[in-house]
């Protein structure tokens, strides 16, 4: 028998970008919120080891070799213990899928890449532009732009005004300065007509909203213990807690959204990770923000007499059209101009200072063999470990000198290629397998399609040209893209659209079927673009949260 608890105005499942925005917005409006997070709360002073040198770590940052097989690529000795391994998943035959989930409060915002570009009409009107592939988003840039501005003011994004319609400009803090390697690569790009610009980087170049500026230690992806880039535990949850309206329950592994006899949601059932006991909690509305794949899993597992195929899934579309960014190393090499130079502070932002935003298919959507477009992120210079050592043969004093001489020179590029929505890429519930909490696991069906692979080829050739044009020497490129899921940018599965027969959520993120269930994560997106997802999750979640607020105040739900 499940334990019964108080009733809240709203339950929010998840505390990452979308959930955090919903929690903050609703608490500040005076609603009582119960936030559920599947893992524990972090203490930045203890749990973030980003200021430790490799030699301060037992395994020098390489991690315990006995655990290496189970580490996700983003997980290492610095972030050990913060990623989800207890809740398993399965893959269909032919699918490889890596699904890193940070179960700590704040989710992936603790460690995110911080690239924060706005999407634009080139992304929202994509079907029209492409001549009919898939469908347009049910929103226009003009509608979303004010939400982007508000989010940028909340979180602080450093960049420059660039005047490219395919990358709408926002409200920016001063940009990070270009490094030596950027100046050299930018000239190479200029000669090819490829943009090489300061990234839209959610990293505080000046103090912002009470948060101290970045100190450029360069280990952002191990977590920031000064809170100098946006994460919900540093930026949103303290504001929500100050209202006295938030109850945050940790180690709460959500099983399902509970439905009333009339089909509307009445609450959420979860399993306490520590006691293994099932708990039910009730509210007037539910926000699902567990991240794309998990949110779909929760709704698909929320079966009842009223919702035999899962709550909100009368369309049969829940879990469909899973999209992801194809990531891969499109090329690496070195810049001989910098051989033998003293070391430069190049990795001040975990090396992420600039990007090469989509330049393909801009004048006409059919310039290339593929539709839509991709972006590339360059990295390089003096990093922690001289990974380029395998390009230099030999041993002895000459090897020592060569490694030092090359230290400022290496460059490496990785691509951000959107997969197209596809009927064969989706998640469903594995009928055979349950996790250790007795909850049926998700099963992933996913493969890269030809459009993505054409872009991957294009990106490798473009990268080789950039290295050459910059006067550099190429060393090689990744043999194949990284495993799907690697980008942590899953989108789709609960897509938004005006037609209840074809879409799970409406244009405001409310499920078509159930008026008091709202979705605040990238599962509502129609797909990936050449931009990252977090800034857009925040903007759409803000809009959805305010919509929820209006509906609650108007007693419409």
């Amino acid at each position: 028998m499940a334990a019964k608890t108080l009733e809240y105005d709203v339950i929010v499942i998840g505390t990452g970008a979308g959930g955090g925005m919903a929690i903050k917005t609703l608490c500040e409006a005076g609603l009582t919120v119960c936030a559920l997070n599947s893992g524990r709360r972090l203490d930045p002073a203890k749990d973030f080891r980003n200021h430790r040198q490799p030699y301060d770590m037992v395994y020098r940052g390489f991690g315990d070799p006995r655990k290496r097989d189970r580490y996700y690529h983003i997980e290492n000795e610095y972030t050990d213990g913060l990623w989800e391994h207890g809740i398993t998943y399965t893959t269909a035959p032919g699918t490889s899928w890596e699904w890193p989930r940070c179960h700590a409060v704040g989710g992936k915002t603790n460690f995110w890449g911080r690239s924060a570009a706005r999407m634009g009409d080139i992304d929202f009107k994509t079907a029209t532009l492409d001549g009919g592939y898939d469908v347009d988003w049910p929103v226009s840039y003009d509608e979303i732009a004010p939400f982007y501005s508000r989010v940028e003011r909340m979180i602080g994004v450093a960049s420059t005004v660039q005047g490219r319609p395919s990358n709408p400009d926002g409200e920016y803090l001063p940009p990070m300065k270009l490094r030596c390697l950027d100046h050299i690569l930018a000239r190479g790009c200029d000669s090819l007509g490829i943009p090489y610009l300061p990234d839209r980087l959610a990293q505080l170049t000046v103090a912002h909203q009470g948060h101290p500026p970045c100190h450029y230690c360069g280990n952002c992806t191990e977590g920031c213990d000064t809170g100098s880039f946006f994460s919900t535990p540093w930026f949103f949850l303290p504001l929500a807690e100050k209202t006295g309206k938030l109850e945050l329950r940790t180690n709460a592994v959500v099983r399902s959204v509970l439905a009333n006899d009339d089909g509307r949601a009445r609450g959420v059932a979860y399993v306490d990770r520590e006691t293994k006991q099932e708990v039910e909690v009730y509210a007037r509305a539910v926000v699902v923000a567990a991240s794309c794949v998990e949110s779909a899993r929760i709704l698909l597992n929320s079966t009842s007499r009223q919702w035999p195929n899962g709550l909100g899934n009368s369309s049969g579309q829940a879990g469909r059209n899973l999209c992801d960014h194809l990531y891969g190393t499109t090329g690496y090499g070195y810049l001989p101009q910098l051989l033998g130079q003293p070391s430069f502070p190049d990795n001040v932002s975990a090396s992420q200072v600039v990007w090469m935003p989509r330049w393909q298919n801009l004048r006409s959507p059919r310039e290339e063999k593929f539709i839509r477009g991709y972006s590339i992120y360059p990295t390089g210079g003096c990093g922690e470990f001289p990974w380029y050592h395998d390009q230099i043969e030999g041993f002895g004093s000459q090897l020592k000198r060569d490694i030092k001489r090359h230290y400022p020179t290496p460059v490496s590029f990785y691509c951000q290629i959107p997969s197209l929505p596809s009927a064969t890429n989706y998640v469903d519930i594995d009928p055979e397998v349950k996790d250790q909490y007795g909850i049926p696991v998700v099963r992933v069906h996913f493969q890269w399609g030809p459009n993505e692979l054409l872009m991957w080829e294009h990106a490798k050739q473009a990268t080789a040209s950039v290295i050459r044009s910059a006067g550099g020497q190429g060393w090689g490129a990744g043999k194949e893209p990284y495993t799907p899921g690697w980008s942590l940018h899953e989108t789709g599965t609960l897509r938004m659209g005006n037609d209840p027969k074809r879409f799970v959520t409406n244009r405001l993120g409310q499920t078509h079927d159930v008026s008091n269930v709202f979705v605040c994560d990238a599962s509502v997106f129609l797909g990936c673009t050449d931009k990252t997802t977090t800034l857009s999750i925040l903007a759409f979640a803000l809009r959805t949260s305010e919509h929820l607020l209006d509906r609650l105040r108007g007693r419409e739900i």
């Binding site: 002073a45 430790r52 030699y55 990070m176 430069f344 001040v348 041993f395």
Partner: protein
């Protein structure tokens, strides 16, 4: 820039806390090479190191190899950075590579015995350099030494892992990370964005 001083102090406080929380007192040279801010609390270990995985003879060969790969040649090398201890620790923690190391060391001694009638660690410098050189440089590869080349790649990789994650190794590179800057530092050559007139390169 009012307030920046306070913020900097706060950052330094956090850094000091993180440093105090770290520290792994497991090794003789290695922990010595680390030089923790709180290092005084870490008792010096006895001067002889007892290997965890390798036999005494294997470990002696390992020390020779790491020192040949990253020598002490005016600047500290693998010995001072405790690289053999690092490798012993990593291999003892990693059943997946133990066979490859043991087999490789065995191969090396057997090969040295075949060529010169003695184990690798007892050879003189020219003979050791010759043997290793044929495993390390493409233009000196010899037939029948494929397994030795595979092992050399492995031991070289672990040596570089151990050396360039030590304080000594990172200082030799002048690793700029984990320093604190008040402003985004950027390129130090504002008058030469094309980087065509950089100061003379050191050899």
């Amino acid at each position: 820039m009012a307030g920046q001083g306070l913020e900097r102090r706060e950052i330094l406080r956090i850094l000091a806390m993180a440093a105090a929380a770290s520290g792994y007192p497991g090794f003789y040279r290695w922990s010595f090479a680390c030089g923790h801010p709180g290092g005084a609390a870490i008792a010096p270990k006895p001067s002889s190191y007892a290997p965890r995985f390798f036999s005494v003879d294997e470990y002696a060969t390992l020390e020779h190899l790491t020192q040949l790969i990253i020598p002490s040649d005016g600047t500290p090398g693998a010995r001072e950075a405790g690289v053999s201890e690092f490798i012993d620790f990593m291999v003892s923690s990693d059943p997946g590579v133990q066979y490859r190391f043991r087999y490789g060391l065995t191969w090396l001694d057997a090969h040295a015995a075949e060529l010169h009638g003695a184990p690798f660690r007892t050879l003189d410098d020219p003979k050791r350099n010759d043997l290793l050189g044929s495993l390390a440089y493409r233009d000196r590869y010899r037939d029948g030494e494929e397994e030795g080349r595979v092992f050399f790649k492995l031991i070289r990789e672990y040596t570089l892992m151990g050396f360039y994650t030590s304080k000594i190794g990172l200082e030799q590179l002048d690793y700029p990370g984990l320093r604190i800057y008040l402003e985004s530092p950027g390129c130090p050559h504002p008058d030469d964005p094309e980087h065509l007139h950089l100061p003379a390169r050191k050899t």
